[in-house]
């Protein structure tokens, strides 16, 4: 539907033509962006699924060992054993740019390098299951961190894809057809005016000839 507010002038026609050209180009670029984002997204999803399964099974194991440990030890003892952790972790964040989306990457740093430092208690007072639980947890932690990375990447990519998809669709199904319609409308209007003009000239010519020589064409 050509909007009524459009002025059927040659200038307007040229303006819309230029805009259409830009819109077409933008549409193509956005479409390419969307396709590439989608490809990246599928990779991330695949990775995410594997990692999640791994983390969930690892945590289930750790939780199992932990509940055995908490059954064998009194809650006070358990809490006391874990009260002052020796280990502490710090995460450094870097950003990776995937098609204009800033995706965080984590780099994991522990304060103590000695892997046995994860046990902040004396072995005399605690049950062995607690050791198991904690060592399983610490093995799972790497995967958990990786999971955090891909999951965040997934969320951010999903958001970006949604946005890009909307833009592509808006251009493809609304903006571009509307401009094409407008161009058509202006062209027709201009042609119509042209025809009207020619007819008018012919009429005037007739009138003049009739007046001057007294004869009629046609």
């Amino acid at each position: 539907m050509a909007s009524i507010t459009i002025k059927p002038t040659r200038m307007e026609l040229n303006r819309i033509k230029a805009r259409l050209k830009v819109a077409r180009r933008g549409h193509k670029l956005l479409k390419d962006k969307r396709d590439e984002l989608m490809r990246q997204f599928m990779l991330v999803i695949k990775e995410n699924r594997l990692l999640r399964e791994k983390v969930e099974s690892g945590l289930a194991k750790a939780m199992g060992a932990m509940s055995v440990a908490s059954a064998l030890m009194s809650p006070e003892m358990l809490e006391q054993a874990l009260l002052y952790p020796k280990q502490s972790v710090e995460v450094r964040m870097k950003y990776k740019n995937i098609m204009g989306v800033n995706v965080p990457e984590y780099e994991f740093r522990t304060k103590n390098d000695d892997p046995s430092e994860i046990f902040p208690y004396s072995y005399a007072m605690t049950s062995g299951e607690l050791d198991d639980a904690i060592s399983i947890l610490s093995e799972t932690l790497d995967d958990m961190l990786e999971l955090a990375r891909v999951e965040k990447a997934m969320q951010l990519l999903a958001q970006e894809i949604e946005k890009t998809r909307r833009r592509v669709n808006a251009l493809e199904y609304v903006m571009i057809p509307e401009m094409e319609q407008n161009i058509k409308y202006i062209r027709m209007k201009l042609e119509e005016n042209e025809r009207g003009n020619i007819t008018r000239l012919m009429k005037v010519k007739d009138a003049i000839l009739k007046e001057a020589h007294g004869y009629e064409t046609i």
Partner: protein, 107 residues
């Protein structure tokens, strides 16, 4: 860039083990407490890069968590609690796919 911390929110039995690993553990008993703890973590802005939260609690905090989804930090990651997984992590994945593509194309 300075170092960020990792926080774990959950019921005590599920998350206490993470304490030994040096993560910041916030043990909560009720969803209301969890809400408060979560809001507190978000307020302390860029300090936390990752927040792990148990699925049981995440269920009650879905509004807060989805609000955090579009931001770069923190990453809110669901983990199963001691009573096992609810499959919410997987369904979150499905939801993201649906959001991006418009339909669930997994399986």
């Amino acid at each position: 860039m300075s170092g960020y911390k990792i926080a774990v929110i959950g019921d005590k039995d599920s998350v206490i083990g993470f304490k030994a690993l040096g993560l910041e553990v916030i043990d909560v008993n009720t969803p209301a407490e969890a809400k408060e703890a979560f809001a507190g973590l978000l307020r302390s802005k860029d300090e936390y890069a990752i927040i792990y939260i148990t699925e049981q609690l995440a269920d009650k905090l879905s509004d807060e968590i989805s609000a955090a989804k579009d931001k770069v930090t923190p990453a809110v990651i669901l983990i199963p609690s001691k009573s096992g997984t609810l499959g919410m992590g997987m369904s979150a994945l499905k939801k993201a796919v649906e959001r991006a593509i418009g339909s669930d194309i997994l399986q």
